[in-house]
Subunit: 226 residues, 2 copies
DNA sequence: ACAAATTTTTAGATTTGCCTAAATTTTAAT
DNA sequence: ATTAAAATTTAGGCAAATCTAAAAATTTGT
């Protein structure tokens, strides 16, 4: 049924990468894209894809890109569930900041124990989102993307709550910390400068000017959603 | 200074094994002993020992056995600290039983993050002993063996508290559970049958007969220690 | 003391995951 | 429709960690 349990760390990392690339863009995932994201060589990717294909984790035809099978998808969701639960644990229980958790979670996500991850889930009171606002799949791989919009794309006078970041690099997260921007903040878009796309926003009372780049990496949940 | 951080999982497991073998017996550790404990072949052990010797983690002369250097010892203690802290975490925070923790801790002990392990230590309120009664080294590798005796070796009428197990296999631990023997229990040795070494003990009120094998795998801390 | 048994090491092979360089296929441009 | 460029795969090799079989060193038994 599932040989999920005898996957190597490397195999798991490939599956995870293919999952992430597959969900932004409707095409099959390109060898080069995987290589770039994983900081490895295209020829190595081809080797691994063949192995994953043997194991029925990906659909693969030479030169035609790759996509996850249903088994591969399930596997990816299980790894992502672990990654994000560990991130919550590190923030909630060990006082890590949101820019420190990813690196450690990259290691912890490969620990094999169903009991461990389900108990962790319970300890954390079954969180639905990780510290960056990303959804946490449940035990069966089910999860719902939250309705949200990029701050850069909502109309003037939109009001909402900051619920996620698109770029979750430590650099960006630390910038947000420095400027007092955090998940949960109330945000109202006051003005958009058409010349450079920068925004004037009101965030938890304060007034602040943010560049287009910043705005296009912040998600808000508006109040007017149905 | 410390390249502790670029050790492979396999190297770490060898160091840990050499540490454990080295501390029971005054001799240098034999290749065969390592191979047996790690369920690998002596030739593989020789290969790895050479590598560890290159890295100044062990002292090695061909055919003469192996011992940890000061750096190797420090490394071993750091891994054991992680292993035992994770075991405490699993029992205290995730409701694992003491026979379930070892396997998962074998994986978790290889996670690399100083901040992680020190925060975990704090979350657990700096425990001094793991669920099997074994001491947890502090951040600097310091730890004290607790004064304790094998139940099989104390004189009749000795009174003490059960503080540890020698064999911490799941089989033995589950046997103890089934018979209501746990760390913290008050124990008084009532009678020793010289024929087979079995003991009649009073444990938390109850009276019970235990074989020599059982008694020789239980540690007690007596009240009459200086 | 010295042959036999045991332990340990060497030699050579295998698997996994990665690499470089060269060949092949697909895609883009004229 | 060809050709040029880009993407992908193949071929061949390398390092880590393991194995088997054979050789070398040590230990044991008489
Ligand atoms: Mn992450
Ligand atoms: Mn995250
Ligand atoms: Mn253990
Ligand atoms: Mn233990």
């Amino acid at each position: 049924m599932h040989k999920l349990y005898l996957m190597t760390r490397s195999e798991e990392n490939y599956i995870k990468t293919i999952f992430h690339l597959g969900r932004q863009g409707t095409q099959d995932v390109a060898t080069n894209a995987i290589a770039e994201l994983m900081e490895t060589k295209p020829s190595s990717v081809t080797d691994m894809i063949k192995k994953l294909s043997e194991k029925d984790l990906v659909n693969y035809k030479r030169y035609q890109g790759v996509s996850l099978t249903s088994l591969g998808n399930k596997t990816a969701l299980s790894i992502i569930r672990k990654h994000r639960l560990w991130e919550v644990f590190l923030v909630e229980k060990l006082d890590f900041s949101w820019d420190e958790v990813h690196e450690v979670a990259e290691q912890l996500e490969h620990i094999k124990s169903d009991k461990l991850i389900d108990s962790l889930d319970r300890l954390l009171a079954f969180p639905k989102f990780d510290p960056h606002g990303d959804p946490i799949p449940d035990k069966n791989g089910g999860f719902k993307e939250r309705d949200r919009d990029l701050l850069s794309e909502v109309p003037i006078r939109t009001v909402g709550v900051c619920v996620g970041v698109k770029d979750s690099s430590a650099t960006f997260l630390k910038f947000l910390d420095k400027n007092g921007i955090a998940l949960g903040n109330q945000i109202k878009v006051m003005e958009r400068e058409e010349f450079d796309g920068s925004l004037n926003i009101e965030i938890d009372g304060r007034n602040m000017q943010i560049s287009h780049v910043i705005a296009s990496n912040l998600y808000i949940k508006t109040n007017d959603g149905i």
